[in-house]
Structures are given as structure tokens and as C-alpha cells.
Point group: C2
Chain length 694, copies 2
């Protein structure tokens, strides 16, 4: 990347290798001698496009080493002394790095099979791991060529929950009756021109569109369409298919092709999560969900939560984060298309639902003020954008609708969820919670909606928990403790050997340990340290959930006091959020008619146990409703219907955001909730603690 | 140019020099391993952009020679055996080639100073010229390195009439009262955000725009603006200048910058003629015309008239023609900006007025069906386009309004002219004629407007006339013949030695020769062939207008019987057009209340003489009004006012096009008018022919 020698305000990727000067595209394209001839005419061939290889030229100058990653065989060269985590990112190898390379999370484990390197000492690796040759990639300085193996626990696993599951999908498809896509298609038979009817090709097309009920007054036309138009209208004897992009107050002809070149029109709904991304491919005629795919957001290499991502974007540029998100989505798109035998150029409609930071970064929009008081996003309501401008793999002209978000910490994913739950149309007072890193809460009905974010942290998604993980293969998702010996009985995702614990598993475990007296209500272990299930890790007592011989990695899966503390803080933040928001409108929990829970718990969230640890309020259990991934569901609805797109905008505009960051009430309640289930046990009358039998 | 290996339907300029495969920009940009890694990761550096050098790679393989052009020193390499005219085009040397290289017009004269070449014989060069080493570039095959001189008569001359002249400009500036540009600027003071006011940057901006009277409901925002927005709003403490593009039914925020980075906002009016192009630079606050420039359309190298240009675009691609027009305009823009010390990035508003073919080619839109029955243009009414998409040198986001044109042969330049004359608002029946290659006529008033094109040919612009030229330096523009000896007295543009004859000069000469008996009413010479002013050229009698010793090129300037014939055909076509159009509405010339003449005659059009040769009808001379370059004048008006832009669209929609190409009435009238002034002398009662005295 450099600046054009003629236009210093334009950044450009075109570099003349001979003269080492940059020219912008205008200068390369144009034949104006003043701009062009000075350098280009003498050495046109030397102008190379550096798009996508911004860093290459510098590297050439220093001594380089190469790193090969197995399995996969991805290789990359980097300057001698470079960082191994950065090398992995550059080689497009998925490595989770919750702490963005600061060396504190211990997730970026790799095994070095050959080659020399330097690394510091870390307490985050067990002796067993060190023996296996495991290193933390972020702590490794590469000294010469390396052969690296990605260990089982670091390898990207397919997420189990690809969207909503079959049954939910069937229900979802029943929700939208009238199809009204972003890009509407019209099959037209144009009048054949004659000396008595000499209007231009474009006017002829518009006349036919008008006859088909299209408002042509506010219609514009892409220059690219005009450039192809003569051919398009004549190739199939004046039979054409026109694609018209619907914007807020205007329409735009974005594609015209001969009718005999018709292809099935597809749509794509994207749930752009901080941790994982889900993609649905939809038939835009029938509304059928044809295929789905989900995977980890590659931005994970830059930290677990939105704050780390923003910090990374400030340090290393938004473009890096944008490319990571795009690469994840585009990979998933391709993966979802494989069974369909359709191409991405058939995707003409896209709806993206994500939190405010995620959509900013995807679009390459600065997010830095989201993390600075008063937490201002750059954009709340996005105009419809064309896919080529975003970089999404789809028809170049595909319309992209981005779910609007009311605040920096309450984004389009929540709006999407509300749209799906329909609480904005119901007169029942509803409490909505999306348990994720951020813990967004919405309280309201068809008359008002208040929203807040309570910084729950990533514990329920496995972040900051020694053996925490998402609901992937091998995750313990349902746990029961034998009341006598405290031996766990558990189920794992895909019934594979245990690899860690996911959100619902942690809630089960916490509840079981507390109710059965393994830990006290203060979160400290009560079990005798000589109990066979007890051990010590990093000077802390820890409970052995599964012994090494029965696990995937042949290591003990443990749950430490720090893990309990992290989880307690998370649940306390959520509960404090509920309390303060309800208080704001002068009500109490008894007045809540329904409580909707969404988020990535997987299908085994045990409401009873969630209440018992004080995550959810102790109200009538019939009021609880777990609705799965509501973000993708709302995105799907908006994909098919303009009415729902408008409803999403209305929801976002109707929401009143309450800021907790400077609220002393919230801090008070947060402190009180840091007990199991709560310091005020009267709030949880139904929770019974068994007396320890030891 | 090649096709992307992943996306065979996408043409791309990115070629891997090592693997000899192409990738499109998407593939280069994207990090999707399926698209990207296969070739790019192993050799990113080999991908070069071939933009603008489409032909280079092939040339590399064959033996090349180089040609240097003086003055200027432009040089170019081409394959041995290549054509010299193409070499000149590639070297960006202006060479007129009316016949598009077919060897029939004799305009592309160059002098070869050294080097070997092959050329055929031609009757279009005089012995004197051959002696000077003059060749016709289109007939030359380059055998090895050549040094070429561009002779005086081929060198590009500055057109005299840069627009309208001072007085007309002053008048013009008085026509627009309310400024209403395409891109409106708003100087705004945004509210500083706080915890009580946390709306996004974009909503904050829109709120302020709304307070300033801007309709924000239908407003969209460029992704590029959103990407810069955080910085733009904060850099000058929430003081910004926002640029809002006005479209038909919506608006678009296209630029936001800190208020302390304000620059004077400029506009540009462009008269895009087939032969010459005029550019005005306008202050968008005051409406003052700051500067003007005019020059020859570089497309002249592809032929004189629109038909030749279309043929060329079909053979060699529209891109070539597009680049030629862009290069001319962009050069003129730079030239016009020099005295102002402003940059092209300040140009935020552009109006282009040109005939239908010219604007199609400028925008890269197929024009081929304009020349095929039933003569259908691709587009009549153009949406507002951004300058970067067109390739015009201006702010990337500048709004480009292209004057709409009602038919393939009546374009936006005529609509622009009507707008300027105001005949669409007057109840006086008006006859409007733009004398140029095409000879467009409009008849009408505030109730109706009929229009037609009468294929006058380029004679009045110097095309097809041995010594014909535009009103440039040295052109004889006013000619009087001594009634006794027929010695011409003449005035030339800039009072320089004679170089040829322009339109008004030809009309003078024809009239003088006819009235004074040098030629008969049949267009044949009556003068004795031994008269000192008579000579023979290509077996035809010719009149010597000036002897070699008094001319710039030291050659006789002559006027041949073929020249008379060409001019007679042109004037006959125009007159027949008038007749048929008036007849269509059941009227006659006496009912015409005013007759407006526009076109490139220069300032000396002698109405009396134009009537005497039968170009204009023999009506009350007070009804005639010569209005100069009305195309640029209308473009200027539309540049400043949305009301006038809308009026232009209305004018175009109101015009009824009459096709003469298959009209037997027109052919009859055309035949009758091929006499001086007309076969029916009763139509020209005021024209008196003197009896020859020889």
C-alpha cells in the first residue's frame, strides 16, 4: 500500500517495481500524459498490483524463514524472528487466541515438530503438554524454518448447531407468507422496436417493468447494466429477466439478462457472531432453507470478545479484521453451496445479523469509539449495500441488508432476535436475554422496549474457563453428579470422548456442585482436598470432572475455583441487569409474562439449574422459553420480506438504551448477585441446598 | 485482458506472468483458499495488472520497432510492419483521420524524417507534399525505427472559440438565479455526543442535515463515507462539510470532511461534440464561469462522423473510443484548471451535453443499434452517475448529469440547446437548427416540439472539403470576391496566414462565387479555365483561393467542384429537413416567428449569404438569431439548477422524433434543393444572381 505520486490523498496498491513509485487506478487507467506518461509509459509492465499482499515488499528485504502447518500443509514465509501466531494467521490457519496474543489465555496451542525457535516460560501449559512439544504460538519467535502440527484441541471443529435444527427450521419457514426480496426479479417480454416505436432499450425495459407493476419513477440503473443492455435484450429475442434492487425510497436496475439464461435465485442469511458464524442458503422463490453451514469467526485469532477485536483493529487496521470475517463467511458460503450444485453468483439477497462491532468490522467501518465513553457506533441503520462493495461471495449486484442496531453494545443480532420472538408485537411484558459475551437484555412489549448490555463476559461460551469450549464435538453439555461419590455422569456433543465443557454443561456442573455441597454458596470448594476427585492446579483447588485416560487429549478435565469465580461473575452480571432494568420501569419479576432465552447454549439448557445458580430469576418455569439462535432466524425472516426488514428498522428505532457502565445501581446489584444463587436467598425461594454428606 | 480462471464470465486485467493465468479482482482480494491459494499464494508478485496495456503481452513476442513523434517527443513501440496511424494513436499524438484509416480522406498527414517504411500511392497528396516527405499515416507500414514529424497542418491547434465568448458568457451567467447543484454542500455543527445522547455518528450527521432543511428519509450513504466517518466528524471538533448527491427521488451522502478542510466547490459543463469538445469550469457558489478550454475530440482518429465512430467501436471495442473521449475531456479539464490553481478534486458537479452516440461512447455503452434501422439508442435518459464510475477527472463522488436525448440522431446537445433558447417556454413558433455533421432540426413552441435529423454531413465543419477546417487559427472565416477579377479579400481566425476555410468562410465563398457568376446555379464552374484563379486538381476544375506564397503551408488553397458538390448536398439536406418538418404540421415558413441557428460556424455567419445559397429559408432576416454554442450554454444552466435539469428531461420527453431515413417526401425535397439556391427559384425571391462579366 502506498500513495499515488500524482494524488497523494489516494492510497493505492499499484507499485512500479522499477521506479518504486505508486500510481492510483485512475492514473493507470487514464491516458492523460501529465498523469500517465511520466512513469508508466516507460515501464508499464513493472506496475504490479499489491492487492492483498500489503506486507510483502518489506519482507523481501529482510531474511525470511518459512513455516509449514500440518494437517493441511498451509505454508507461509515471514521475517526471521517473526511471531508464530502471526504466521498462523497469515497462513490462514484457524487458531483461537482469546487474549489477542498477550500470552494470558493459553488457547493458541501448537506443536513444533522440527526447527529452532525461542519461547518464554508459561504456567498455562501442563507438564504433559510441554512433554508433547506443545507451545503457545503467541510466545514463539521463529528462528528458522519450522514444521508445525496443529494439535487436536486447537484444530477447528465443525460446530454442531448448524443454525436451528430441522424442526425449528420447518417452523421458521412457516413464518413468512409473502416473498418480497431485496432484489426482485421480473421476467419480461419487451416490445420489439420498429420505426414507429423507437424508444431506447432502457425505456423499453422500463415500460415493460411498469406494466408488471414496478414503480419506475424512482428507478435508477447501474452503469454496468446500461453497458450490457443492448446485448441482454436482444440475445433471447427481447425476453429478459431484470433484477431490481429495492432501496428505502428508490429502486435500481442491477442486472438484466436474456430470459434463457435464468438461474434459480438464492438468498443468504448470515448470523455474524463474535465467536461463530452461521450461514443459511435459501431458495428465494419458495423460502426453503436449502442448506446451512457454521464455523468459527477467524477473528478469534484477534481475541475472544468485541473489545479485543476493536483493540486489534486499532493496532493492526480494520482491513485485517474485515478480511478475517469475510474469509469465514465466504468459506461457509462455498461449503453450504457444495451439496446444492449452485454457484455463489446466484445469491442475490443477503441479510447480515451481528452485533454492532461485528458489522462495523465486516463493512470496514471504524469501531473504535464503541469502546470509549460515551460508546458511539459510527452507523446504526445501514443503507442497502451491494455485495461486491462489501466483498461477500455472491452476485456482484446482490443487495445486502444489514440488521440495524440501536447502540454500541446492543446490535442487529438482538433486533433480529426480537423480530423473531415477536415480542414487539405482543402486549405481554417480555424479558429477553441473549446470553453471550455481552449479555444483551431487552424488556418490553408492543408499547415500549428498553435494552441494556451487562458485560457478562465469554464464560458461557467457554472463554476464560480452563476447559471451557463451545458446543462442539466432545463438549460435555449435560452433567449430573452422583450425590454420594460425586462421580459425574455426562453426555457430550456427538457422544465423542470428552474434550471440555460447554455453557449448558457448566451451568449443570455449577448447580450440581452447589446443590450437592461440593462447593459452598460462596463458590469455594467444600470437598476434602484428599477426595479422589480433588486436585490442585496453579495453586488452586480444582475438581476433576474426567480423568485423563477417558478424555480425548489424555489429560484430566478439571474445573478450578477461578472457573467458578468467572462463571459467578457472568451470571451475576446478567441477573443484575434484569433487576435494574425491571426496577427502571417500576415493576418486579412477577409482572414478567414471558422470559425468552436465546444464545449458543445448545439444546440442553436446563432452566431449573440455571435458576438454581441465580442466572435466571426464580419465577414460574412455564414462563421460560428457550428459542435457540434467534439472530439467524430473524435474518431469515428479513431476507424474505420487506415488511420484516422495515419492522427491524422500527424495532431498532423504538429501543431505549440504558447504559450500565456508569450505573451505581447496577454495581450494587452486581455485587449482591456474586453468591450462589444470591446474597438475598428470599429471591430464590425454590432453590434447595442439600447438606453435604462428607 | 483475459478471463478469470475461477470465474470464466469475468474479464480481468490481472495476469500471472509465471503461470500465464488470469484472476479477477475478487479472487485477488479474497483469501478464500479455494479461489486464492491455488495460484496466487505461490507467486503473488507475478500478478500484474494489465489495465490500459491490453495489447502489450502479445507484442512482446514479436519483433518490435519504435516510432518517435516530433514536436513533443512522444514515442511508442509497435510490432514490425505495424501501421503508422495506429502508432500515432497509441502514442497519444493527435491525428485527424476522417475516414477512420481507409485512406480516402487524406487528413492524416505526417512527415517521415528517418527510417524505412512502405506506403502505397495516393492521389490525395500533391507533388509538393510528396517532395516534403509527407505521407498518409494510415497507408504506412513501419519497417524499422522511425523519426516522424507532425506537419503544421496536422498539428493540433487551439480552437478559437473557447465556448461562447466573453459577452455571451456574461449574459449566460445572468440566466440562473437560484443555485441548486447536483451535489449540495452543507456546513454543519454536530451535537457533541454524551451518555445522554448516544446516537451513532451517521444519525448525528443526519439529524443535523435535517435541521438544515435536508430530506433525510430517502437518504442513503456511500460505504466509503461510512468508513471515513469517525475521523471526519471528530477531526475539526464536530464541524463538518457534508456533500449530498441529489438523485431523482433520493439523496446520497457522498462526502463528509472536517470543516477546516473546506475547498471551493467547482462544477464543470462539457459540450461533448463529435469534432470538438468544450469545457467550462464554474464556481458553484457564485455561478461564475472561471475558465474554459476546448480541443479536438481524440476520437477524430476513428473517423469524422458518428457513423464512423460506431463502426470503429464495433471493430475495435467501445473501450478505445471511451478512453479517447475521456482523455480529451480530462486534458481539457486540467488545462482549464491551470490558471485557477484549483485541483480537479474540487469538481463536484458535472453536466455533459453531447449527441446520443457521443454520450453512449463516453459512458462505454453500446451504440451499434443507433446506426441500424430502426435506430434505437440504448439509453435516452441517464441516471446521475458518479464521476469515478465514468472515469472523469473530478472528485471521485462528483455527480454527473448527462443531458437526455430523445432519439438516436437527436441527442442531449439539442435538448441542451432548446433549454438555452427557451423555445419550449415560448408560444412563438420557432425553428431551431444545429448545423453540424448531423443537422438536427427542432420545430415547435410551448405546446409541441417535433425534431428530425437530416444527415447534413460534416462539410460545414470542414469534413470532406479539400481545404476545409474548423474555425481555428488561420481559417478563412469571412470572404469577399472582387466582382471584376474575383480576387478574394478575406479574414482569418487570429489574423494568421491562411491555412484553410471554415464553415462561415465556405458559405461566403459559395455565395460570392454563385452571385458573381464564378459558378453556375448547378454548382459547375463558369470561369474560363485559363483564368489565373482557375486550376485543375484530380482532373477537376478548381478555384484558387490563395496562392502558395501567401499561405501557411506554401501550397495553393483551392476549392474544387467536388467541394461545391459536398457543400450543396449538405445545405440541401438541411433545407429539405425544414420543408418536410413544417409541412408535417401543415404550416409554411411564413408562420415561423423565429429561426434559431446554432453550431460551430464561429462568429461570422452571414445570414444573407446563407439564404442566398439556399441553406436557410428566404424569410424576414429579423427572424434569424445566431446563438453560438447552445449546447455548452444549456449544460451550464443545468449545472447550476435542478429546475433546469428537470426541464431538460421534460424537453426530451416532449419531443416527437420524425425519421427522414425512409421518407420519400424528404428525398424529393432533398433532390429539389440540390441547386443554388433551389430548383424552385420562387422560394428565394430575394436572391439576385449577377450576370457573369467574363
Amino acid at each position: 500500500m502506498g500513495r499515488c505520486i500524482n494524488h497523494p490523498d489516494i492510497e493505492t496498491n499499484y507499485l512500479c517495481m522499477k521506479h518504486q513509485i505508486h500510481l492510483c487506478e485512475d492514473c493507470l487507467e487514464c491516458r492523460d500524459p501529465d498523469l500517465y506518461c511520466k512513469f508508466r509509459s516507460s515501464c508499464p509492465i513493472h506496475f504490479i498490483s499489491l492487492k492483498g499482499f500489503d506486507e510483502k515488499p518489506e519482507e523481501k528485504e529482510s531474511e525470511t524463514v518459512s513455516v509449514v502447518f500440518q494437517p493441511g500443509g498451509n505454508s507461509v514465509t515471514l521475517p526471521k524472528g517473526g511471531n508464530l501466531l502471526e504466521a498462523a494467521q497469515k497462513a490462514d490457519v484457524y487458531v483461537n487466541a482469546s487474549c489477542n496474543g498477550s500470552g494470558s489465555c493459553g488457547k493458541c496451542k501448537l506443536i513444533i515438530e522440527s526447527g529452532s525457535f525461542e519461547t518464554g516460560d508459561t504456567g498455562l501449559l501442563s507438564p504433559v503438554e510441554k512433554e508433547r512439544g506443545v507451545v503457545l504460538a503467541c510466545q514463539v519467535e521463529v528462528k528458522n524454518d519450522l514444521a508445525v502440527r496443529i494439535p487436536e484441541e486447537t484444530l477447528e471443529k465443525k460446530l454442531r448447531a448448524e443454525g436451528m435444527g430441522n424442526e425449528a427450521t420447518q417452523k421458521l419457514m412457516g413464518l413468512v407468507r409473502e416473498m418480497d426480496p431485496i432484489v426482485k426479479k421480473y421476467i419480461l417480454t419487451l416490445d420489439v422496436p420498429s420505426l414507429d416505436d423507437t424508444v431506447s432499450d432502457l425505456d423499453r425495459l422500463k415500460r415493460s417493468l411498469k406494466r408488471n407493476g414496478c414503480d419506475i419513477f424512482s428507478m435508477s440503473t447501474d452503469l454496468g447494466v446500461m453497458r450490457q443492455l443492448t446485448r441482454s435484450v436482444r440475445e433471447d429475442n427481447w425476453q429478459v429477466i431484470a433484477s431490481v434492487l429495492q432501496k428505502k425510497c428508490s429502486t435500481q436496475i442491477v442486472d438484466v439478462r436474456p430470459a434463457n439464461q435464468a438461474l434459480r435465485s438464492l438468498g443468504m442469511a448470515v448470523d455474524l457472531g463474535t465467536t461463530s458464524i452461521v450461514v443459511y442458503i435459501v431458495d428465494m422463490e419458495t423460502g426453503e432453507i436449502l442448506s446451512a453451514a457454521s464455523g468459527h469467526n477467524r477473528q478469534a485469532a484477534c481475541g475472544d470478545d468485541v473489545i479485543n477485536r476493536i483493540v486489534c483493529s486499532e493496532k493492526e487496521g480494520i482491513k485485517k479484521l474485515k478480511k478475517m470475517a469475510l474469509s469465514t463467511i465466504n468459506n461457509l458460503t462455498e461449503r453450504a453451496l457444495i451439496p446444492l450444485e449452485e454457484t455463489h453468483r446466484q445469491i442475490e439477497n443477503i441479510v447480515v445479523s451481528g452485533n454492532t462491532t461485528m458489522v462495523h468490522l465486516l463493512l470496514g467501518i471504524e469501531a473504535k469509539y464503541i469502546r470509549r465513553e460515551p460508546y458511539i457506533p459510527t452507523v446504526s441503520e445501514f443503507p442497502v449495500i451491494q455485495a461486491a462493495h462489501v466483498g461477500l461471495k455472491a452476485a456482484r449486484y446482490a443487495g445486502v441488508f444489514v440488521m440495524p442496531g440501536p447502540a454500541g453494545y446492543v446490535g442487529g443480532d438482538i433486533v433480529s432476535g426480537i423480530l423473531y420472538t415477536g415480542m414487539h408485537r405482543s402486549n405481554n411484558l417480555t424479558l429477553f436475554i441473549d446470553v453471550g459475551t455481552n449479555g444483551e437484555i431487552v424488556l418490553g412489549n408492543d408499547e415500549f422496549m428498553m435494552t441494556a448490555a451487562c458485560s457478562a463476559g465469554p464464560a458461557f461460551e467457554g472463554g476464560g474457563i480452563r476447559w471451557g469450549m463451545r458446543a462442539e464435538t466432545g463438549a460435555m453439555e449435560k452433567i449430573f453428579l452422583d450425590p454420594a461419590r460425586f462421580d459425574p455422569e455426562y453426555e457430550t456433543v456427538d457422544s465423542k470422548p470428552a474434550r471440555g465443557i460447554c455453557g449448558s454443561g457448566m451451568i449443570d456442573l455449577m448447580s450440581e456442585m452447589m446443590v450437592k455441597g461440593v462447593v459452598g454458596q460462596d463458590g469455594k470448594f467444600r470437598l476434602d482436598s484428599r477426595h479422589p476427585r480433588m486436585t490442585v492446579f496453579n495453586d488452586e483447588p480444582a475438581f476433576i470432572l474426567e480423568f485423563a485416560e477417558n478424555t480425548d487429549m489424555k489429560e484430566d478435565i478439571i474445573f478450578t475455583e477461578s472457573d467458578i469465580r468467572s462463571l459467578t461473575l457472568s451470571k451475576a452480571a446478567v441477573y443484575a441487569g434484569f433487576t435494574v432494568l425491571i426496577e427502571k420501569i417500576g415493576m418486579d419479576f412477577s409482572m414478567v409474562r414471558q422470559m425468552i432465552i436465546t444464545g449458543g447454549f445448545g439444546q440442553f439448557l436446563d432452566i431449573e439449574k440455571a435458576v438454581s445458580i441465580g442466572l435466571l430469576p426464580d419465577i414460574d418455569r412455564k414462563k421460560f422459553k428457550y428459542m435457540g439462535n434467534s439472530s439467524i432466524a430473524g435474518a431469515y425472516m428479513a431476507l424474505l420480506s420487506g415488511k420484516f426488514r422495515q419492522e427491524a428498522i422500527d424495532i431498532s428505532n423504538r429501543m431505549t438504551y440504558v447504559d450500565f457502565s456508569s450505573s451505581t445501581r447496577f454495581m450494587d446489584e452486581f455485587t449482591k448477585a456474586q453468591f450462589l444463587p444470591h446474597t438475598d436467598s428470599r429471591l430464590f425461594p425454590s432453590v434447595k441446598i442439600l447438606q453435604p454428606q462428607h
